[in-house]
Symmetry: C2
Subunit: 299 residues, 2 copies
């Protein structure tokens, strides 16, 4: 690639929604002049806008959605997936032909369904999803290295603009991420098992523990170190974001949960009837998955 001397990737990068992901992208983009000449922030929440200005993590906080969109050649939607279409609707009428709209949502089919009907001619939409996060949220929680060594998945539209997809890929690569393209439906299935179902299980076991009688509940907290604690870390994530993810990846998530429930019931039956071989086989397979992760250095 010989574009390094051709100036920044974008002239004006607009980041919409300054939570963990948006504020991390902002911090990274302002630190790297190769990404954009100007990094602008817009958030529907006045208190988030005020905080972002206070933090000084962008070149400028926009004064309104229309103004924000007008001069941006790339707009990155970093809002919960349930708010993507509304955010796009407020911005798209003001975006110039040739500009790019992209997003960071954890579900891709629902975001595509919501945004594609709104697209004016000349604006390219590139659905994307950086696989990065922590259990923290809000503009204070971001940091510029969040995407380093992580995957950013792109699920370009079938009739989408390949050049626009390439520029979005370069944006995430500039943030330190590895990029890959895949089909949106496939993305949603893979994410259902690697991310959405684990979060659902983690939220659920916390609720189950919370329902125990008061005495046991306090001991659950006291003795959380052996297993339970790891679940609570996952369960500390943002409620609105996760509500939206669950509702927007419903079919894939419910299918994975159904498979999981069948498997858990099979394990329960093996425990009830003392089927040692079945139990050991399941445990050994769990270890095998862990070993594979260590081998591909993702552990």
């Amino acid at each position: 690639m010989s574009g390094a001397d051709a100036g920044p990737l974008f002239d004006r990068l607009l980041i919409v929604g300054l939570g963990l992901i948006g504020s991390s992208l902002a911090r990274r983009a302002v630190a790297d002049p190769a990404i954009a000449r100007e990094v602008v922030a817009w958030d529907a929440s006045p208190s988030v806008r005020a905080r972002v200005a206070e933090l000084g993590i962008v070149h400028r906080v926009a004064s309104g959605a229309a103004e924000a969109a007008r001069g941006a050649d790339c707009v990155v939607l970093c809002v919960p997936v349930g708010a993507m279409a509304a955010a796009a609707e407020a911005l798209l009428p003001h975006m110039a032909p040739g500009s790019i709209l992209t997003d960071v949502g954890s579900t891709k089919q629902s975001v595509i369904r919501g945004i594609v009907p709104l697209l004016p001619p000349g604006v390219s939409f590139v659905p994307a999803h950086p696989l990065a996060g922590t259990e923290h949220s809000g503009p204070d929680s971001g940091f510029p290295t969040l995407f380093e060594g992580r995957w950013a998945l792109l699920t370009p539209l079938e009739d989408g603009d390949a050049a626009a997809a390439g520029r979005v890929a370069r944006l995430w690569q500039a943030c330190g991420a590895m990029t890959r393209e895949m089909d949106a439906a496939h993305h949603d299935r893979v994410l259902a098992i690697v991310s959405h179902l684990p979060h659902l299980l983690a939220f659920t076991i916390c609720g189950t523990a919370d329902d125990l009688q008061d005495e046991s509940r306090s001991e659950v907290l006291q003795f959380a170190a052996t297993g339970f604690r790891d679940f609570t870390r996952i369960a500390a994530s943002d409620p609105t974001m996760w509500r939206d993810v669950f509702l927007n990846n419903r079919d894939a998530l419910l299918e994975m949960l159904a498979r999981f429930t069948e498997d858990a019931q099979a394990m329960a039956r093996a425990i009830r009837w003392g089927d040692e071989a079945f139990i050991v086989d399941r445990i050994v397979r769990g270890r095998g998955i862990r070993q594979s992760l260590i081998e591909i250095k993702q552990a």
Copy 2:
């Protein structure tokens, strides 16, 4: 307590089973002369005995179970809970009156049921459970600080020897642990939710992922970072140990799994029908549990 000048807590401490817990206890005990004058190891596996001798983590590896038991004033069983009774049966006939038998098993009622009928007069049994561990196993995986700042739960027999229980408590305190006494049945219920159920769920989701079509499976590994990875860490534990835990805490574990499954089904129903308030309530409760852990410094 004024016993510090009165010599070590035990004369000869015998550790039976040199896995993660046994070898960590051995390493700690040889490093602290206040714990025992001599630390002896016994393991049913010749290769483990050879490795322990090679590692030099005890004063001496016994040449047989009977010889090992004969001069020990404290015997700590660190074998999988399904092997506790057999280990006790081999050792108890050789233990001297006044000596103490204790264990580290993750289930307490089943261990008590197995060992109490075998007890000769004069030998005190103190069921115990240090809540510590990693996903590694075997004599190489232990380290002397494993128990520091962790809980060691004692579930003394109703008619048990309080002085013996006090000495076992001091053993774990000397390893850096905090001790607490509780009823064995209560222990098993609390551990079912904080440890046994999380492990069952982690093993199960790894199996569910392992059953996916080949293409998805490789992507599950590739993109494990967002949630799934934390489950695989839990699922890397020792198969024999966990098989035994599941089978030996069957009733409490199946009850917690049944509660969990009801809660997961309620979540599935809320997702299917778009019940946003229910979903958010569950997520907020998960965060609440996490927040409580942070407040009591167990996070």
